[in-house]
Amino acid sequence: MAIETEARWVPIAVSCDILDGTVIPARLPTGPIAVWRSASGSLYANGDRCPHRGMRLSQGFVRGETLSCIYHGWRFGADGACQKIPAHPKVSPPKTINCGPLPVTEANGVVWGAATSPVDAPDQFVGHDALRSLVVAASTDAIASACEGEWVGEAIAVTLGGQNTILLLNPYGPAEVLVIALVPRGLTAPDLVRVSTALEALRRSAEAVGEAA
């Protein structure tokens, strides 16, 4: 049912990839979204489409506690409401103009988003933190078989670069998946680099598996 899939947390980004005062593009199964952190550090998400003329809001910019569209500079606040239309600076924008705020939360250094508010918190991975994300041009099955990992719910547990790694998956399409790798907390820099390198290798083999299929 649509409601069930929408009220579910989906891993969409790595927390430290979104600095204070920046916006990034991300995706939910329902479509593209813009995820942004205000100057004070609060995290928000909304549809990646400006209500004015359809520009992608993820190409906009963050000033203070608002997200600005790059096209005509309309500014949206935490509740998605339009707070300012620069072409009409003296007019208060109608309350109905809204860019569609979406639920977003952070855990284990991962940003999770949902189309409608889930009842529960996202899955917890005790002692693990996000390392990095990468997009793999293959199916989730191709990824699982390429790394010979084990499914743990919707994630894959696998040893990469000698570390117990958890791969969170956000399928963008049948042959395109956002993978977020979680590694045990407290690894050294060389350990982290080894996992990152192993992830690149995993992507190569998953994509080769996909091509062979």
Binding site: V14, D17, I24, F61, V62, R63, S68, R132, A189, S196
Partner: protein, 218 residues
């Protein structure tokens, strides 16, 4: 110093950019690259028989490779933009300068096909471009683990400037930058440098300027 320049060329832009970051004046000569193909005309072929831009003329010296021109500008006016002394840094800088040619061919090539009607195998250019972006993303992620932001050492260098324009303009050739968070942070760091200038397709960070509505929206 005279730069034979085309406003839409990433290879010319990187020289305007470094000159601006170093506060070095450049005398620009606009070349009608498109639609006029002036770079293939007799006058410019006499300067650069390869028939391409940029060309930098400084007295008797004529330079026609953007990486060499970056090195020349930096050596004259910004030696801290050049790796120097440390063998590893020198080698890495050379490696990224060579890498920038791959970016120019693949990402720059896809852009010329998609935007200005140039001939080329678009799919091959795009797939080479994506391969190069993935390499860059992995390298920049490794730099982040070590606490670094830029390609070589602690400071921005000509290696960053050599690669930046093709990467930032990749979407012009229908190559999305959405999947590369470390590239996004690196580009942001470069666009935040004092003296940064934009080119069409690479806009400035508006948020760095004072908020005209700060009073209304607080």
């Amino acid at each position: 110093m005279i730069l034979y320049d085309y406003i839409l060329s990433p290879s010319c832009y990187k020289l305007r950019l470094l000159a601006s970051l170093l506060d070095v004046p450049l005398e620009l000569r606009a070349v009608d690259f498109h639609p006029g193909r002036e770079h293939k005309g007799a006058a410019l072929l006499a300067l650069n028989p390869a028939g391409c831009l940029p060309i930098l003329v400084d007295g008797d010296l004529v330079l026609t490779e953007s990486a060499a021109i970056l090195a020349y500008l930096a050596a004259q006016s910004g030696p801290n933009w050049l790796a120097d002394g440390d063998p590893q840094a020198i080698a890495l800088q050379q490696q990224w300068l060579s890498f920038s040619h791959r970016l120019a061919e693949a990402l720059g090539g896809a852009r010329l096909v998609e935007m200005l009607h140039f001939d080329g195998d678009l799919e091959a250019l795009q797939s080479d471009g994506i391969a190069a972006l993935r390499e860059l993303e992995a390298a920049l992620f490794t730099r982040r683990i070590a606490g670094g932001t830029f390609l070589v050492g602690d400071m921005p260098s000509i290696a960053d400037i050599a690669c930046f324009p093709y990467v930032a303009l990749a979407p012009d050739g229908s190559i999305s930058l959405d999947p590369y968070p470390s590239i996004r942070l690196w580009m942001r760091a470069l666009r935040s440098l004092p003296g940064f200038i934009e080119m069409p397709g690479i806009h400035r960070l508006h948020e760095l300027a004072p908020d005209p509505f700060a009073k209304d929206l607080s």
